[in-house]
Symmetry: C2
Subunit: 430 residues, 2 copies
């Protein structure tokens, strides 16, 4: 099998440029590992004139990426356009329908349309690969699909968004507030001009829903991921969490039980002795807990030109080796549809932070609401009044049903003692 694997790149942004650079730089080694050369035949992007820092004149330029699907001289279409729908999805459908292998880094499209596309790949006997869609260069799709395949997975969770982790760990190191650090991250190019996709947890939720499908053998169910982000984390939350032995991380967590599939993206408190507490800066990490293997921990760079290109080309090497496999670790007909777990039944500890007026009876009011909701308090910190006269109260509950914490907060709704919205973060007790 020394015929080259002939590929076309659709989309030439950061990742597309990275793939070209990688295939140039590591060509000889890749040929040895793949058993044959991987050759770019054609490229396509919106703007032909943009300088991408690589010589593209060697490749045929195609204005309409859709024409790539039908060409006999192309074995694999690599989609790096992005977007859950639109041209990326049309390209995926036409490519797989034409029995051509399809590689993508597009987490939104896989989260929304992955089952349909995997079914199309199966029907055509071709490959759908998307290692780059989750956690960038970390081979975690492969780790779950193949490495941990012998296990019933209890939980899969991780730090799936480098922008949020950069912001949270910078807030932690420098004691600064969210908006300030976000602004700086935007200036440095670590955060997008419109950062909401990252900081509100949507990007992490796309990735989580993909991991859950691989871990549990369930259909993709992005719609039932409970999503919140990191906008409401203040410097004091991070400081109080540290005082109690925790770090704050945006964690995507999925669990499966007889009650259904639980999926949540949420800023949460991670105990210092948990490996996720040591994941710093823009790194990503994924943990899977299997019934035989125990805890597996994967860490690395979750985004950027090099790591993402590494994952895309790993998929291409798999295809060159003839290792197609089922996209979601099993035929789509075998995927279960457990439905979402009922909200609030999950049990755990929670962190609550209130900003309260500095006057008698406030503590009694809050602790009474907790008691009436059946929530007992494990530890509490109250700091003296700040410049504006308000007082910060942070507490950690004992283990209780999550709905009980929600009930306690409902009982406090409208309280004249509490300034602004209380902050709730769950504690990662896994």
């Amino acid at each position: 099998m020394t015929k080259p694997l002939r590929i076309a790149l659709a989309g030439l942004g950061t990742v597309g440029g990275g793939v070209v650079k990688l295939l140039d730089a590591n060509a000889a080694l890749i040929t040895r590992r793949a058993g044959r050369p991987i050759e770019i035949v054609a490229v396509s992007a919106r703007d032909r004139t943009r300088d991408r820092g690589v010589d593209l004149s060697r490749f045929e330029w195609v204005d309409d990426a859709l024409t790539l699907s039908a060409r006999d001289d192309i074995d694999v279409v690599v989609e790096l356009i992005g977007g859950a729908d639109g041209p990326a999805l049309t390209l995926a459908r036409t490519t797989l329908a034409a029995s051509k292998a399809f590689v993508t880094a597009n987490k939104a499209m896989i989260a929304h349309h992955g089952v349909e596309l995997a079914g199309a790949a199966e029907a055509s006997g071709t490959a759908l690969k998307y290692e780059a869609a989750v956690a960038g260069g970390i081979p975690v799709i492969k780790g779950l699909r193949e490495g941990a395949a012998a296990n019933v997975i209890g939980h899969v969770y991780g730090i799936l968004n480098g922008t949020c982790n950069y912001i949270l760990t910078t807030m932690e190191k420098e004691g600064r507030d969210f908006n300030e650090v976000l602004g700086e991250a935007q200036a440095l190019g670590y955060a997008e001009a419109d950062p909401s996709f990252d900081i509100d947890g949507v990007d992490a939720a796309h990735k989580l829903s993909i991991l859950a499908t691989l871990a549990f053998g369930t259909e993709l169910d992005f719609g039932s991921v409970a999503i919140s982000g990191i906008r409401h984390v203040i410097a004091a939350d991070i400081a109080e969490a540290a005082a109690m032995g925790y770090r704050v991380r945006l964690v995507g967590l999925a669990e499966e039980s007889r009650k259904g599939l639980f999926q949540r993206v949420h800023a949460c408190l991670v105990p210092l002795d948990h490996p996720l507490a040591h994941v710093s800066g823009s790194l990503n990490a994924v943990v899977a807990e299997g019934n035989f293997v125990g805890r597996l921990f994967f860490e690395g760079r979750g985004a950027g030109e090099g790591p993402t290109a590494s994952a895309v080309v790993a998929d291409l090497i798999d295809i060159a080796r003839g290792e197609y496999g089922p996209a979601f670790a099993m035929p789509v007909a075998s995927l279960a549809r457990p439905g979402p777990a009922p909200a609030g039944e999950r049990r755990g500890r929670a962190y609550l932070r209130f900003t309260v007026a500095d006057r008698p009876g406030v503590l009694a009011e809050i602790t009474a609401a907790m008691r009436d909701a059946g929530v007992s308090i494990e530890s509490m910190i109250q700091r003296g009044a700040t410049a504006d006269g308000s007082v910060l109260l942070a507490l950690v509950t004992h283990v209780c049903p999550e709905r009980a914490v929600g009930d306690a907060l409902n009982r406090l709704e409208g309280s004249q003692s509490i300034v602004g919205k209380p902050m709730l973060m769950h504690i990662l007790d896994i």
Copy 2:
């Protein structure tokens, strides 16, 4: 493809029993993931009467494992006998020669005979798989062979022996000495009655040589691994290292450069901000640094019934899916033979600990030897005299060629001021 994958187990120790339990417990899920059932047809071991905690009466018992190779009703032979040579090797050769897939957890055999066996698998068009041979349940063979396959790897290194890591981290937590902790580990079953294979670094070296082959595309070269273990680490080394910001870990490290292949297993000092510093107890961890992906970190359980069985069955699922691939990530004819890198040319910092007589001039003698060898000192700790009148002197050098540190120690050989053998540990500055 709904025909079952029919396997035979040769060897029914801890891991063999684990494979039976895993295939029982997770049968339905494995059938979905593998696309077909994985069925044990026959088993073989030395002692038929031993109670292994699983019902083996369902399977055909075979006294002579070698007969498994020739049987038409078996697709895969799983070798869990152990030993670099002897019955395990004969079974591997006859099985692969019979074009039957072969799965093993045998690191010694792969380290010594892996290239021969991979060649035999290639010639027969069958699979040789050995995920369980390195780092137990952590899918690091797959991670390097496939996940990081697009990268030129600069270094691969890790904590590859759980017994040593358990001993070192227990010494660290409890401030106790090596022999005491080893004795306790033996009593608890965490260390073998004859522990030398583990604590002298041979087991880690087997695994390292396999990782190096996958990372660099070089032939296995176990013979050129520089090996030392943890016998000479004393509680004071761990305490002084901690005082200077390090933890002591047994690390296997391989690097490739134009000078050749460098492979070493050595107790070394790991800076606290390095992920290996946080690998505790009997866990294993592997780091690979790729030119595009950056640093990849994998952590998990490196031994034991469950994790090892998880890796063996992952290999079986790959085979059931028809994903054979080249055993060492490329055809054996493509593996390079760089030869070992010349000793001593590597540059780095080192930790040295001397036990010295408490009298004038000792410090001058040691520092003069360091100066004459061209080694400058970054930091030094001297503790007051102990009960027997000796004084402990620990220092960390600046970056210098490793041979210079050796030269300094040679100059001090025979010194009347130094009691016993000085301790040398390199610092992991990657």
